[in-house]
């Protein structure tokens, strides 16, 4: 995996915009605005970020949002709780699909 994911590449994220700066700028503006404190605090937003980062299994995002959590004064206890919530939602999303199997069985059974 190391040939695919290099920590230093996180700092080169801006290179993604080279071939379509206009679209990339729109993304960055959106991304930046979405993390600004609003009804949710910065702490709440980075906790959502770290949870999502784990569920989508993005090593860059995990790295970045873990640091953001530390900069918001949070600990591994906070991060672990957030990851459990995100993982539980993900687990639940898989489990609920058992009903698809139930329905399929009903459709294919006498």
């Amino acid at each position: 995996m190391t040939e695919y994911y290099k920590a230093e590449d996180l700092e080169k994220f801006g290179d993604v915009g080279k071939h379509n700066p206009e679209l990339f700028k729109k993304f960055i503006d959106w991304y930046t605005s979405s993390l600004e404190p609003g009804k949710l605090s910065k702490r709440e937003k980075v906790l959502i970020g770290v949870g999502v980062a784990h569920v989508i299994q993005c090593p860059y995002c995990i790295d970045a949002y873990t640091k953001s959590c530390l900069e918001e004064g949070m600990s591994l206890e906070h991060i672990t709780e957030a990851v459990h919530v995100a993982s539980a939602v993900r687990g639940g999303a898989s489990l609920i699909h058992t009903l698809q199997a139930h329905n399929a069985i009903d459709r294919n059974s006498l």
Binding site: K67, E72, G73, S75, L76, E77
Partner: protein
């Protein structure tokens, strides 16, 4: 990265000058019972730099003969200097406020157990290092067992009225990051410290200061060793906040090193950058009028005090 001097040149101030001089800060030695990974003076039990009785006497003379309001004592662990009690007593007799920056754990060293009670009797305000409210964060930075001792010390202080009696001297806690990231905002973390320390141990305190780690001393060694020095400096510089410049510590204090040398702050003191106020290099040459109008000696480590919400 622009130099700090260049950065200041871009602001309306152009350069950094002292604003007032109400606090006399004195570092009475680098000897410490701990050897914390973030310590900007690289304090440890092995350090031999300790302010002698004569220099301590000169500090008190300067304090009492000039319109200072506060004596702010730091180290190392100030309690390891035998002159500490005399300095505090004389400062209090002269009706000056006294603040001591304590590491808390030193109260459990032999013959130093009476300090909490004595501090209370002398109405000394305490600024106590507690880098985080969880054990792992504290012990990782300050050494195994440090957290438990710190908690015990805070309970003793609470029992004496520190942090619990609003009419008495204050008990401030100090957070600092346990790595190469910046400190969170003070108000957010203060609420969390209050809740966690109260729920876990029934501990109260007056206020929390959140400080960033300065890229000097032992923390600088860590940054260099791990190849992160430039990255951390870039992070500090990117977080430069001109709004911090009016409250920045160096514009309101003068700092005296363990050997009587005068500095603009404790960080310049750790680096050996003496004050630029003409020939006023030593406490013997102390000239309040010249120092209150001095230019501050700055370098890139000053980004540590101007990042984000400020840190001094």
């Amino acid at each position: 990265m622009k130099t700090f001097k260049e950065k200041i040149g871009e602001t309306s101030l152009q350069s950094l000058e002292a604003l007032d001089l109400k606090i006399l800060q004195v570092n009475i030695g680098y000897r410490c019972n701990l050897a914390c990974k973030h310590c900007h003076v690289s304090g440890s039990p092995g350090r031999r730099e300790v302010m002698d009785v004569m220099t301590a006497g000169q500090v008190i003379r300067v304090l009492t003969e000039n319109p200072f309001e506060t004596l702010d004592i730091t180290g190392g662990a100030p309690e390891l200097n035998p002159s500490l009690r005399t300095m505090i007593r004389e400062a209090r007799n002269a009706e000056k406020c006294v603040t001591v920056r304590t590491n808390l754990t030193v109260f459990f060293e032999e013959r130093l157990e009476s300090y909490p009670e004595w501090y209370r009797e002398q109405s000394v305000d305490l600024i106590a290092s507690l880098p985080f409210y969880l054990e792992e964060g504290v012990d990782r930075v300050r050494g195994t067992g440090t957290y438990k001792k710190s908690i015990e010390a805070l309970k003793i202080l609470n029992g004496l009225g520190y942090g619990t009696d609003s009419t008495g001297p204050s008990l401030s806690l100090v957070y600092n990051p346990q790595g190469m990231y910046l400190a969170p905002t003070q108000c957010t973390l203060e609420a969390e410290y209050r809740r966690e320390l109260q729920e876990r141990f029934g501990i109260a305190f007056t206020r929390l200061y959140t400080l960033s780690n300065m890229p000097i001393g032992r923390f600088r060694e860590y940054l260099v060793r791990t190849g992160n020095f430039d990255k951390y400096m870039d992070k500090l510089a990117a977080a430069f906040n001109p709004a911090t410049l009016s409250g920045i510590m160096c514009r309101h204090i003068v700092s005296v090193g363990w050997d009587g040398t005068l500095y603009d702050c404790d960080f310049n003191q750790a680096l050996g950058h003496a004050t630029m106020a003409g020939a006023l290099k030593k406490i013997d040459d102390f000239d309040y009028a010249a120092l209150v109008n001095r230019s501050i000696s700055v370098d890139d480590h000053c980004y540590g005090c101007t990042a984000g919400q400020g840190s001094s």
